[in-house]
Amino acid sequence: MTVRTPGTETGAGTATEPEADERGPDPVKVRLDVNGAQRHVDIEPRVSLLGALRDELQLTGAKRGCDQGTCGACTVWVDGRRVLACLTLAITCEGAEITTVEGLATPDGTGDGRLHPMQEEFIRHDAFQCGYCTPGQIMSAVGCVREGHAGDDGEIKEWMSGNICRCAAYPNIRAAIRAARDRV
């Protein structure tokens, strides 16, 4: 599902100055490209990408677990790479393509509501209990496969170690990744 809200603008003029001008500490207009749509938020430069997504854009898929880079619940993609939204400042993402779990299924809005193969396999393999870590696990899992590190269980373990699951659904998460890896 691609989220397009009435606040979504695509017009020019509000884009940031290319020149190196100081902005903040008061709220400034920041343009973010999220799941294929251009969005504008008024935020202080200290606001993390996670804060902007959750609190400004109501994209609450990425979760705030530790807010200090240790749990992986906030994992999203910036320019196709899995990163931690809690340690990324939103303002640094201007001009980058951000993908959250909300945009994973059909970033172009053409999938008739079909889930991404990794999402399907997470459901099929019961790869969660409380579900809090799951959006981060899924975004990270697709990254893990695309990076070529889902060869066997040992490799998946190592390359998914940045995503903690408090419910310890790890065996099922790995099973889901193994099942999805050829379709990602």
Binding site: A20, R82, S140
Partner: protein, 334 residues
């Protein structure tokens, strides 16, 4: 998190404008991957008023040097260095140390320059409250009488015993890497040994850099024997954890004798610890477990422990011996 303002350095004179912005303002810090800077800003450990974003400066990439070495741009991400075929081929211990550090997500974010500048993981430094000479010169050191299991045993002082946390700095120390920087006055080069300061009486000074000095690259000189080097990391959990002890090593054996050897230790020193005593003890002698053991003991003789980290010298000795045994046992061209 305190409010901050933001300035993005980019364009033709981006490097100069970044240098000027930070040099002229004691309240400005460079921002690279942010995995240390944003974390510690949020914990109230660092308090810049402004971040100067250097991520769009043309300082990423790996170049081959004429001598067979490599020049790694300061903004090259840990993951890109780790997966670079030329790094894997010439300096496998560098690639291995990177892969064994942090997590896949953090490695996509973290830059090599930022890695050199990362802050210690001492809990008292990071809680922004306890007495800590590094955070607040003269305040005292809570770790001396506190929880010190992960703290250093080499290069410590009565003012600070925090371990240098970087993994990749360990093989880079073994390889005699050089740190290239720029200031408004021009370019500078630091030998790796000169770049990391022991705490001594001034634990808040960790590097010789002036405020606003920008790391532009890390140069790794050629070292043929490093093609068979390794990085061995021992920690409390198997992944996503800092080292209790780590060893980066390369060794060349000719006719059963050690022709050349490079060793550095992580997890035990207040700086990435080049094990020169061990190297000196080994060169010219037999490549046997006995001499590896003696060399490790020579290096660790100076260790000063606390009741909580007294296990480290022995763990370091065993790890070092195992690293050298592994390198000399299989596939050695002896």
């Amino acid at each position: 998190m305190r409010p901050i303002s933001y300035l993005r350095a980019e364009g033709a004179d981006g490097i100069d404008s970044a240098l000027r912005a930070v040099t002229d303002d004691p309240g400005s810090d460079f921002l690279a991957g942010g995995t240390t800077e944003v974390d510690l800003l949020r914990q109230h450990v660092l308090g810049p008023r402004r971040l100067v974003d250097i991520n769009r400066l043309p300082l990423a990439g790996i170049e081959e040097l004429p001598d067979g070495g490599l020049r790694i741009g300061a903004l090259t991400r840990m993951s890109d260095v780790a997966s670079s075929p030329v790094v894997q081929e010439r300096f496998p211990m560098v690639s291995r140390a990177l892969v064994l550090g942090a997590s896949a997500q953090l490695r996509h974010m973290a830059s090599m320059g930022g890695n050199m500048m990362q802050k210690v993981r001492c809990g008292y430094y990071r809680d922004a409250e306890s007495p800590c000479n590094k955070r607040e010169p003269g305040a005292g050191c809570a770790a001396l009488t506190g929880v010190s299991r992960t703290h250093a045993v080499l290069g410590t002082s009565e003012h600070c015993i925090a371990t240098h946390p970087s993994d990749v700095a360990v093989p880079l120390a073994a390889l005699d890497a050089r740190i290239r920087t720029r200031t408004l006055d021009g370019e500078h080069t630091y030998a790796f040994d000169d770049f990391f300061l022991e705490p001594g009486d001034t634990p808040h000074r960790e590097h010789p850099l002036t405020h606003g000095e920008l790391i532009t690259a890390i140069e790794v000189p050629a070292l043929p024997m490093a093609r068979r080097s390794l990085y061995l990391k021992v920690r409390d959990r198997e992944s996503y954890e800092f080292a209790l002890v780590s060893v980066a090593a390369a060794i060349e054996v000719r006719d059963g004798k050690v022709g050349g050897v490079r060793i550095a230790l992580g997890g035990v020193g207040t700086r990435p610890w080049r094990a020169r005593r061990a190297e000196d003890a080994l060169v010219g002698g037999p490549a046997t477990t006995k001499s590896f053991d003696l060399a490790a003991r020579a290096e660790l003789a100076a260790a000063r422990t606390t009741p909580m980290n007294a296990f480290k010298p022995e763990l370091a000795r065993r790890t070092l011996v195992r690293a050298l045994e592994t390198l000399t046992r299989d596939g050695s061209r002896s």
